[in-house]
Structures are given as structure tokens and as C-alpha cells.
């Protein structure tokens, strides 16, 4: 009798464990892939640690957050990756994008969902900026469907300042804060967020650090206008597992 009970429990737990494994794999933080690489190490957070306490120097803090593709709360037990020596690295060193591409003859933004990063190139093809992002997740329970970010080439047609808010999310109410939003396809936008977590976690928009979104919004992005400007081009690349 006992045997049957044990087998029954095992059968019951098997699918649960598979589901848990899947969930863990989808929400794995980006930077942890560097743990075994030369020049980097991973550390586990203790209770009460914050980015500010951990890295008092703003430059080091910024680099660490970009490496981990996240600026959210450091809860106890969370692992983050840090370089062994902050002096040897800079923003261009750790860029996942090439510093120079063939001249696109117009401003260009490349959104790479596999690298969880965005790059901004000037018309000559020089990398002027890159930053972390969080794009649409595979499944959104509130709308009961996939909410992956659309892929293709688009043009920015509208941008707003710090007060920008969503009309749709949270479902039924709207009002979700999307500072410095830059719309490129219907309701899809690049915008700042306090929840860039190091994995794909949005409803389809592309979340950026708020400071990055501000810089892009004010210094880089052009919007379509009657004088002939057709808006900054945005290339959203496809996911590898797609």
C-alpha cells in the first residue's frame, strides 16, 4: 500500500518540478552567464544590501547595473555578477554591440532581445549609446496570451515626457507609469521603468532604465513631422528560440 502512495506522490510532483524548472529558466537573470568568465565573479546578496550601498561610486554602480541588465531591488539571496576590477572596464568595453557598423545614413536603434540590450547608432554608423532593456514575456496571465514584443523595422511617431502613462495597463484601469515613452508601432513603445529585472518581463513594450529613456528621448529620438522627417528607425530583432 505504501508503495502505491509513494508512486502516486511522485507522479503528482513530477509535472510540478518540470513547471518550476521551466519558470526558473525563463526568469533567469541575464548577467549570471558571466559567472564563470575570466575577469568576473558572482556574489550573493545579503539582507539589506542596495545598489547604492554596494557601489557608492556612481560610475561603478552604473556599470554593474548595465552588466546585470537590472536596477531593481536586491533581495536577500539574489546573485549578481561584478567585474574583478572596475578600473579596467568602461561602457564601451562591456558593450555587447559592435562599436562601428556600416553607415546606415540615418539614426538607428537596434533592440536585441537575446542580449537584453539596445544600441543607438548615428548616421555614420558609430555606436553612441547602449543600455539594458526588458522586452515582452512569453505569457501574460492578465491578458491570457503571449505578449512578446513585435519584430521588424519601425519608425518613432510619437514621444512624451516624464508624465507619460499607459491607456491599457493595468488591465481595465490604465495609468501605468511609462516615463519618457517613445511610440514606434501602435501602442508599443520604448519607455523608462523602475522594473528592468534582467529578464523579459513586460507586456510587449521595451522597458529601459529611466535615465537611459530620458537621454534617448531628449537627445536622440526624432519624431515624424511635416517637414519631411520620418522618425528614428527602430529595428527589433527576433528572439533566438522563436
Amino acid at each position: 500500500m505504501k508503495k502505491y502512495v509513494i508512486i502516486f506522490i511522485c507522479l503528482l510532483l513530477c509535472p510540478l518540478s518540470i513547471y518550476a524548472k521551466k519558470a526558473a529558466s525563463t526568469s533567469e537573470h541575464y548577467g549570471l552567464g558571466l559567472c564563470n568568465k575570466v575577469g568576473y565573479k558572482c556574489i550573493r546578496m545579503k539582507r539589506g544590501t542596495t545598489w547604492r550601498r554596494m557601489f557608492p561610486d556612481p560610475r561603478e554602480r552604473d556599470l554593474a547595473q548595465r552588466l546585470n541588465r537590472s536596477d531593481t531591488y536586491l533581495y536577500r539571496g539574489r546573485k549578481i555578477v561584478i567585474p574583478n576590477d572596475f578600473q579596467t572596464i568602461n561602457l564601451k568595453n562591456i558593450s555587447p554591440f559592435p562599436l562601428k557598423i556600416k553607415s546606415p545614413n540615418e539614426k538607428l536603434i537596434i533592440v536585441n532581445q537575446n542580449l537584453l540590450a539596445l544600441a543607438a547608432y548615428n548616421p555614420n554608423g558609430d555606436l553612441v549609446f547602449w543600455g539594458p532593456l526588458s522586452s515582452g514575456k512569453n505569457y501574460c496571465p492578465d491578458i491570457r496570451r503571449s505578449c512578446r514584443t513585435i519584430t521588424g523595422i519601425y519608425y518613432v511617431f510619437n514621444k512624451k515626457g516624464y508624465q507619460c502613462r499607459s491607456n491599457m495597463f493595468p488591465i481595465g484601469r490604465g495609468g501605468s507609469h511609462m516615463p519618457y515613452c517613445m511610440f514606434f508601432y501602435k501602442g508599443y513603445a520604448l519607455h523608462g521603468s523602475k522594473e528592468v529585472r534582467g529578464f523579459r518581463d513586460s507586456h510587449g513594450c521595451v522597458r529601459l532604465f529611466t535615465r537611459d529613456a530620458k537621454w534617448l528621448n531628449e537627445n536622440f529620438i526624432d519624431v515624424i513631422n511635416s517637414s519631411g522627417n520620418k522618425g528614428t528607425k527602430i529595428v527589433v530583432q527576433r528572439l533566438k528560440d522563436n
Partner: protein, 200 residues
Amino acid sequence: MYKRIIIYFTIIFSCLLFNVASASNHRTKKKTRFPVGCKPIGYKFDLYNVIFTPSTKKYLQTVYFIRNKSNRTIQLLQANDGSDPYIINIDGNIKPYRWSVLSVSENKIKYICTNYDKRKNKHRVISCQNALQICEFPHTRFGTNHRGTYWLTLNKSRRSAINATRFHGILLSDPKQKKRKIHDMLFPDPKQKETQEVRI
């Protein structure tokens, strides 16, 4: 008496059979119609590949209707010949006898057609010319909020593909552009004529 009845019966039966056979033959040979206003322009087949070069030059935004005329699923893979500074990476699978719609805002996009070979368990490059039927709407009108290069819809019937495109808010044949073209034909600009003459 019986003989006559049998003869009449065989004649009628053979006629019926012939009708059914011809109808089915007609159905298989029936030429697929492009949607109204969609013309087979703005692309070329280059060896095994297909290259989309939109015919609209002034406002570079157009729509292609693509049909898989083969009986196998075709995978369209975007080819990068090194001239692009980036990879757009928008591939698509088109099921047999289905229509897909591609919105294009680039000067040139090149695709390779492949087909999954079950026996060898790998993709095989096939000729796009033998597998695809393509047409372009030369006078489309897009809203500002959905311009770009992307798959508007995949694997639909002809009617549903048109409806899906309209659902996105795209005017497939913009009356303003058509009017402008007719006007230009009827009343050609004299300045333009002069410049043409000078060129000659």
C-alpha cells in the same frame, strides 16, 4: 426496349462522369487571382532567391501579398549579402496554398526559400520562382503609427489576408494617389516635359 434503356443510361452516365472530371480538372488548373489592385511588380527572382524592391520610390512604404503555390510549407529566410548595416531578421513560414502579407519600407530585401526535408532532417534550398506567387499594391496608404517592415499577417486565405490588412488600418489602394496619377496622365506638367526634352 431494354437495350435502348441501357444505351441511354450509359450515355447519360458517361456524360455525368465527363462533367465531374472536367470540373475537377478545371478546379486544379484554375489560375489564382491576385487581389484587386495588386500587381506582379516590385520584385525579381534572382537564381533561387527573391528580392523585393518596392516600385514606390517617393513614399517608401508598400505591401506585398505572397502566396505559396506549392504543396509544401515554405520557409522564407532573410539573406544578408553584407550590404546592410544590420540584420532585420524577419523570417516567415508560409503553408501550402496560403497567403501572407509583408509590409516593406526598405529599398531592398532579399529572401531565400527553403523547405524542410523530413528524410534528411534538414532544410533544403528551393527555387522561390517555383514556390511563390507575389504581387504588390503600388498605391498604399499607411497611418503614421504602423509604418515599417514586418509581417502583417501569415497563412491566411486571400479574403482573410485582405481583411487582416484592412484591420490594421492600411488603405490598400489610396484614392488620392490614384487620382494624382490619372491627373498626371491627362494633364502632364509642362515644366517636366521641358526638362525631359533637355535631357534628350
